[in-house]
């Protein structure tokens, strides 16, 4: 998160977010007839559409209020070119977490094929490197973190994780040990 976001988001970026929220909530409310059912029996208070329509109605209303306030503010104080440029950069920065989430998805997939300990080690070292932590001390800190996690979650708490196929290549005793601890 940039320093700017910590002190106050860009107005145009905030409005873009509100527009997305408003459109999504309005679309969901518009789908109430197809996404829920009306039942002939039972009173109005039992109808399945009642609660979603109340929740989405409030959501649409609050998003509309927020949007109205933001539009009014922008009309009152039109944005400068710098602010427009900053808004474009800020909106593009929404993609940055997607990169890290992609790595996370790959990590989840990899643990099934490498085992928890190996997968976690690869993920921690790669993510540290990608985050700019490339000195030896961060490599050692990563190793320490993985050791801590394996000891706490696999050995200590016994959290089960699926065993990868290559564990079958080991003798039974070693395979059992790998499945239990790694």
């Amino acid at each position: 998160m940039s320093e700017k976001k910590e002190t106050g988001a860009n107005r145009l970026e905030a409005m873009a977010l509100t527009v997305i929220f408003f459109l999504c909530s309005a679309t969901l409310l518009g789908l109430i007839g197809t996404a829920t059912r009306t039942n002939a029996r039972g009173g109005w208070w039992t109808q399945p559409w009642l609660m979603p329509s109340l929740a989405l109605g409030v959501l649409v209303l609050t998003n509309a209020i927020t949007l109205w306030r933001e539009v009014a503010d922008i009309r009152k104080h039109p944005p400068s070119q710098d602010e427009k440029q900053a808004a474009r950069s800020a909106i593009l920065s929404w993609l940055l977490p997607l990169e890290f989430l992609t790595y996370f998805g790959a990590y989840v997939w990899a643990t099934q094929h490498t085992g928890y300990a190996v997968g976690t080690l690869l993920f921690v070292l790669f993510l540290s490197w990608r985050a700019g932590l490339r000195e030896k001390r961060w490599f050692l800190a990563g190793l320490g973190l993985v050791l801590f996690m394996v000891l706490v979650f696999r050995v200590g708490l016994g959290v089960w994780m699926p065993a990868p196929d290559y564990y079958d290549l080991f003798p039974k005793e070693i395979r059992t040990m790998l499945m239990r601890w790694f």
Binding site: A35, T46, V58, L59, F100, V108, L157
Partner: protein
Amino acid sequence: MEFFLLGLQQLGDLPVVLAMVFGAILGVIVGAIPGAGAAVTISILLPTTFGMEPLTGMTLLLGVYCGSAYGSAIPAIMINTPGSPVAVLTALEAKPFVDRGEARRAMSLAYSASFVGGVTAVLALMLLTLPLANVAKNFGSAEFAMLALAALVLVVVGHTGRRVEATAAMAFGLFLATIGIETAFSTQRYTFGQTSLLGGIPLVPLVIGLFAMSEALVQLTAKTVERPPVQLGGTFFQGFGEVFRYKVTLFGSSIFGIICGIMPGVGEFLAQQVNYVWARKLSPDGANFGKGAPEGIIVSEATNNSVPPAALIPMLALGIPGEELTAMMLAVFLVHNVVPGPDLFINRPEFVAGLYWTLLLMNFVIIGFLLVATGAIARAALMNKRFLGVAILTLSLIGTYASNYRFSDVGIAMVFALLGYVLRSHRWPLTPILLGVVMGPILEGRMRQALGGANGDLTIFVTRPISAVMVLALVALIVFSFRGWLKSLGGKPGWQSNDY
């Protein structure tokens, strides 16, 4: 008396004691690391407690919850960076102490005020919860529906300056709670044919995505600023006796924190800010507040540590959360199949009494740990933000995948992580979303029961005396808040009650 002795028996169980010690220590450490904190840690640890006995699991998570309130004072004093929003006043007040070379004195003032606040609040919890639960035995569906509604309204009202956003977040949570198969006719709502959504949005991936993974993304994309630690000057034990020189401030702040904790929606931050303003006005030394006054630290720490245990009073007795993190604790209770409310005291008295004692002893464990480990914890507070992000994201796997071994859960967590990241960037509150998800089914179920009993007659909520009083109080609260909002239109948003 028998009830309390029943609780003491639970302390003979070694796993409960170990969970208490481990949870308390972990809570102090994560509370001291800016960016970690109780919400992130509880959400990651939650799935690992599934295999534990409910009391053991709850003790572990409550240890994190209570310990973090103590730990947040360490970075506030040592590096002038609050570990959480509730340590802002401590940071402000402690800086002159550090500048004078009295960091240890500030630390011990903070610890002892926290201890008194925490213990007083647990004693209030022990004394007040059962009578309140006995009153609630007379409640019907209409009253419980109004209580659920009150919890939602009060949490929104508590977000001063962000009420519209908090309302939107709460409504979004209520909507999320409706996804899946509803109970009245077993029809699908907003599943769009996805079988993975038939059971609704799973709570654990939602919590981990929204609170832990989004925090990891914030840390991974943050600009890191290296801060040098301050030297621990002064005498450590000086402040421990010193707090009792300010008995009125110390116990007044604790009691004020308890009252605010019981009132749903107020929370630590608001309680602390209001109490600080009052204490400054009433204290003979008020002019020195903000310039390194011992009373300033006492007010800040005693208030913020008395709120969490007190917030458990309405949660245990009525099933409604008293402040931000209690909404998460309510989710923890429900995940463990422990339904808070009057019936809990009848069906599982040993669980409630055991919880009381572990909460009380936890304060002693925490203060003992702080006395020996403050220096080491202070170093942890300087942890690199990006490495913290790496650690949180890696730990999130345990919760998202290993709880059900379903990739759809990972996908759900990733969606909420992205949503949480964007909302955090724009200072939209996250806790009302969780509150909506947790309270939604309770509100809908109780509303249906109440209206079903009255054949759809809405006047049921105003013809029953207790419910009528609740409706009147809620209407008055909404009207006053709406007036305040109308006045603030056109003005800049003020401070908010939390970071989540």
